[in-house]
Subunit: 321 residues, 2 copies
């Protein structure tokens, strides 16, 4: 590592993104900002639920459920048992402790606070040092197109377990949404900025962020080195439906196909060691490629992958300078 | 008991009202309708909470917490622990299972269902046979006037534990509210109707119901025998601040003062045995008086008191017929 003080902006969705964000937090602490997808947000049982924000927040607070990847460790389920008894919807599981987050968020949003302000308060209460930002304070909702139907994201992802074909996506409300204004502070900072696109689902988790008007331009104008980590290892996703979706979109699931998706935006691309042979293809997208053991099983794995990201970014900055 | 099939309408607030409603339910089952105060309703942590409706519903379902009188038996508190950790408000306790009621209610209200319809669904899920009706589907909010301040009801009742003087009350929204339209079905029923004003707080729990435009007239026109049970035994309330409030309103706390409050509305009045000497004073309000052991410690006590109410009502109907 160089002695240079980097600022890091990570773009993240849920589980995979949260893990790398945790690795980056281990490396740069409060100099990390995580810009999180809110296209998955929805209203459920009267509450505003922000699944990706919570996964990132709980992971950085060290209180995430290590088995599920979402929700809280040591959670109890009395609320869900009673919801079932009362004939309410049980397809989306809300733990007793997790509910406190949604209730506080809902109340403060109703009072006119921004999602950014509420998230900052929750993070402070949980001792999270990095800055976690919702991608926008406006309402954007990811919609899955399947056989002529428009499915709200959680209906597709949780209720239907992604078991219907995805023909396309849209991000309702995105055209009139403003990306999080706190990004402006990052761009004004004197320290060099590194942007890391986490190994989240490119279509479901990262694209909603990148669809925000002006965000791609902001990234380019920031002068930041932009590094992405492939969520596809071999021909499979570490977790979630990324590979399945790529097939449905007519793509061969591979790290190279993810790189192609990010062409023009990303300067450095990290693939797993087992995808080393794809490096040549990826270089055609004007990316510098690194290979590493990219599967994050332990907290140490997260930090290792973060170091590879930062080292690649520094190398890219050296090339640029 | 006569062989006549009575319909019973009970007016009730929280704990005391719920207990007598349970006694009446033991006697007449699904021929009981409970019209419940909703002036205590409020929005808390993003959820619509209806404390009195829930106390009546949980009591009739046999799942109420016998120690507190409110909430569910065998409740757990993981949600509240996490609310505290997150710096949220802890003065109003919401149990993990109880939350399910509020969440389902909130979601269905947001979708445009009436509070009456939501309550009916919840009662069906919990196996409650009597009909529980909110006093209105419109928004009415009890406001406590204290030293020139206007306190929302739960701020006064729970947060401040009634520890500030009550100078007066108002029921915001009541002037434009419509009493529950399902009462019309009761009046049309061929079977004779008995109305029981439960031993709830006359000012905080019963007055919001009676303040609904047209309700007093509806009661009179219904031809029902109207029986009330004193919530004041000796100079004290069985539970809650009724006696304290009467003092603050310049009244001597007594069963007779409660009877005076209901003058012109109530035909028969039930006081505890220890208040037998007040019978003469109460008769001056044109009420037939019965004395009984009115404190409901056991489920059997509830049924006994209900039988006294029904017997008094039948006696009154005999007088009228």
């Amino acid at each position: 590592m160089s002695g240079q003080k980097l600022r890091v902006l990570a773009l993240a969705g849920g589980v995979g993104g949260a893990k790398l964000a945790d690795g980056l937090a281990q490396e740069v602490g409060e100099r990390l900002t995580v810009l999180v997808n809110t296209g998955d947000d929805f209203e459920h049982l009267g509450l505003h639920v922000s699944p990706d924000l919570d996964t990132v927040m709980y992971t950085l607070a060290g209180i995430a459920n290590p088995e599920t990847g979402w929700g809280l460790a040591g959670e109890s389920w009395a609320f869900m048992e009673q919801i079932e008894r009362l004939g309410g919807p049980t397809w989306f599981r809300l733990g007793d402790r997790d509910l406190a987050t949604h209730a506080i968020r809902t109340e403060r949003l109703v009072r006119g606070n921004t999602l950014t302000a509420v998230t900052a308060d929750l993070c402070r209460s949980l001792g999270v040092r990095p800055v976690i930002l919702p991608m926008t304070d406006d309402r954007v909702r990811t919609i899955i197109h399947s056989r002529g139907q428009r499915l709200p994201f959680q209906d597709y992802f949780v209720r239907l377990k992604c078991a219907v074909p995805l023909d396309g996506l849209s991000f309702d409300g995105v055209a009139s949404a403003t990306f999080n204004p706190a990004l402006a502070d990052l761009a004004r900072d004197a320290d060099p900025l590194v942007i890391v696109i986490c190994p989240s689902n490119p279509y479901l988790s990262i694209d909603p962020i990148l669809a925000l008007p002006g965000l791609r331009e902001w990234i380019k104008q920031s002068g930041a080195a932009v590094v992405a980590v492939s969520p596809i290892v071999g021909a499979a996703a570490i977790k979630g439906p990324a590979a399945k979706i790529m097939g449905e979109l007519g793509l061969q699931p591979s790290a190279a196909a993810v790189a192609a998706h990010y062409e023009g935006l990303v300067d450095g691309f990290i693939v797993d060691d087992i995808d080393a042979e794809s490096a040549e293809e990826i270089r055609r997208f004007n990316m510098v490629v690194r290979t590493t053991q990219s599967i994050m099983r332990t907290k140490g794995d997260r930090a290792s992958l973060a170091r590879v990201c930062l080292a690649l970014a520094e190398a890219l900055m050296g090339n640029a300078g």
